[in-house]
Amino acid sequence: MNQNGRFSQVFNILFCAFMLAPIVVVMGVSLTPEGFLEFPPSGISLRWYQAILDNSDFIEAAWISLKLGIVAATVASVLAVPAALAIGQGKFKGREALQALFLSPLMVPTVVLGIAFLRFLSLFGLNGTFTGLVLCHAIIITPFILRLVLAAVVGLDRTVDRAAESLGASNWTIFRRITLPSILPGVIGGWVLAFITSFDELTVTVFIVNPATTTLPVRMFSHITQTTDPLVASVSALTVIFTIILMVAVDRMYGLDRLLIGEGKK
């Protein structure tokens, strides 16, 4: 039951075309048999996918990004879940300030975060290290997890905790058996969103990597700014496919809109 009029339907189609255009173009260019960026491609060839295999830089960078995303999202989850429980369930002084602090990385311009991390890490010799990257990424992605877990925590019925307590459960058991399962969709949704954010992050990362820890977005960025060949298009196409798979999975499980608005599951 589409309630939209004809004008709205045309608008909708044009809008979707606009949103898809650059992505479709990149995917198309990646199939070109030529040595330059060409769209629509004059033929279909996997030449530039083959080229990725010959270019260890991109493969290495993809591995680093994958590891970084997984570790950073996990670290951020481990930190954000208890914090979200404290903020969502407690009434204490400083609660709002705490929440504002944990959400602040969304407010500060990323380029400012990037140079701040660079300044700090270089003073302690951590610049360019994987540890440094993990910690900085954990900070950037914590707000995403916090918002989703907070939404889940706020919907919790506290008397359920009491019911478990009256049946003899310890605080840890209550967390593990009662609270965590109830907020798990929020935690998983937050983790995936955090992972994708970390995997795609450029503006901060570009300041704090060295050649040995270059992530995929940074590698792609420097490639684009130096040369224009379809290699980076084929790499892009692969990350797009990877992201779409994750996205569809998370949409099925959680609802993409709610995930990105930061609201809990109904």
């Binding site: 019925d157 359920v160 009491r162 009256s166 049946l167 003899g168």
Partner: protein, 354 residues
């Protein structure tokens, strides 16, 4: 010997006493209700017994041992929460088994006891369902089974029927009482619903503003309220002021609206008192026998009975008459009201409620 004892129980929030020097006992195996309007302190009392709130003052003893130093998780009480507080991510059987798991009951016995508990509440066939897919009444049975399976010394029920619709509520009253009797568990129920308390309890504790107003059997609290609050909170009542002239061991002399009347004996000194008469005890009589005369202001037909509001010199009086299949007084008619002396309850004057 009393099984549960509360002695001088007090809970203070800031300046106000939510519970004020409450003392009562519950006998083993009995079903006792804490009855009162919202904010009377009944829920706070339950929370203190359960161990979720610490009393400001006073003691709670269960089977002779002091509960104050024992945390909620070790008290071993069965609690049914108003919202049921079921574990939505677990099946019915898993919900019921949870308390046994916490007690490290081995698997075989756990299975047997869960099955028994579910049988007791007639839910054996739904063991593998999730609570989300169940009706309110079924959820409540799950909550009850979960609380009973750990064989608690004391079962606490927090407004257990308030989330059910009227018809189901009546069914569950009988059902709850059957289950309680079969399990033989001492039970304390908190409720604001007087009919629920009267229907289910062995004894009723009426509370108001943190204080115990009266403790009696359901019949006694209804028939012989000792305070003005109890008389109006349980059932409907016409309360008015009167002069108590004199009291003897067998009777009392009252002056009501300028008319002398003999009433039941009472443990009060002569002076201004409050008299309570239930609307169903008031009769419409001939002018010669009238205690008081008034005009019918409103009249509502309820099927089994008529309800009338009669304006009298004592104020508006509510009169309930059984529908005997004949015509009743119309709005605007003058009616003469009377009641038997023994149906008067003579209470100390309640200035606050006047």
């Amino acid at each position: 010997m009393a099984f549960l004892e509360a002695h001088g129980l007090t809970k203070t929030y800031g300046e106000t006493n939510a519970v004020d020097n409450l003392t009562f006992t519950v006998e083993k195996g009995s079903f006792v209700s804490l009855l009162g309007p919202s904010g009377c302190g009944k829920t706070t009392t339950l929370q203190m017994i359960a161990g979720f709130e610490d009393p400001t003052m006073g003691k709670i003893k269960l089977a002779g041992r002091d509960l104050s130093a024992i945390p909620a998780r070790d008290r071993g009480l069965g609690i049914v929460f108003q919202s049921y507080a079921l574990f939505m991510h677990m099946t019915v059987a898993e919900n019921v088994a949870f308390g046994l798991e916490m007690r490290n009951v081995d698997k075989a016995e756990r299975k047997r006891r869960v099955a028994d508990a579910l049988e007791l509440v007639h839910l054996g066939h739904l063991a593998n369902r999730y609570p989300r897919a169940m009706s309110g009444g079924q959820r409540q049975r799950v909550a009850l089974a979960r609380a009973l399976v750990i064989e608690p010394e004391l079962l606490l029920l927090d407004e257990p029927l308030s989330n059910l619709d009227a018809k189901l509520r009546e069914e569950m009253q009988l059902e709850l009482r059957r289950i309680q009797r079969e399990a033989g568990v001492t039970t304390l129920m908190v409720t604001h619903d007087q009919s629920e308390a009267l229907a289910m309890s062995d004894r009723v504790l009426v509370m108001e503003k943190g204080r115990l107003q009266q403790e009696d059997s359901p019949f006694e609290v209804y028939e012989r309220p000792r305070t003005s609050f109890v008389s109006t909170f349980l059932g409907k009542s016409n309360n008015f002021e009167a002069e108590l002239k004199s009291v003897t061991p067998t009777a009392s002399q009252l002056l009501i609206a300028g008319r002398g009347l003999t009433g039941p004996s009472v443990n009060l000194k002569p002076g201004t008192v409050e008299v309570a008469v239930r609307p169903e005890r008031i009769e419409i009589v001939d002018a010669a026998d009238a205690v008081i005369t008034g005009t019918v202001r409103e009249r509502i037909f309820l099927g089994a009975q008529w309800m009338m509001n009669v304006a009298t010199p004592l104020g508006d009086m509510l009169v309930i008459r059984r529908n005997a299949g004949r015509r009743e007084a119309e709005i605007g008619d003058t009616v003469h009201l009377s009641w038997a002396p023994e149906h008067m309850r003579i209470l100390p004057l309640n200035e606050v409620a006047a």
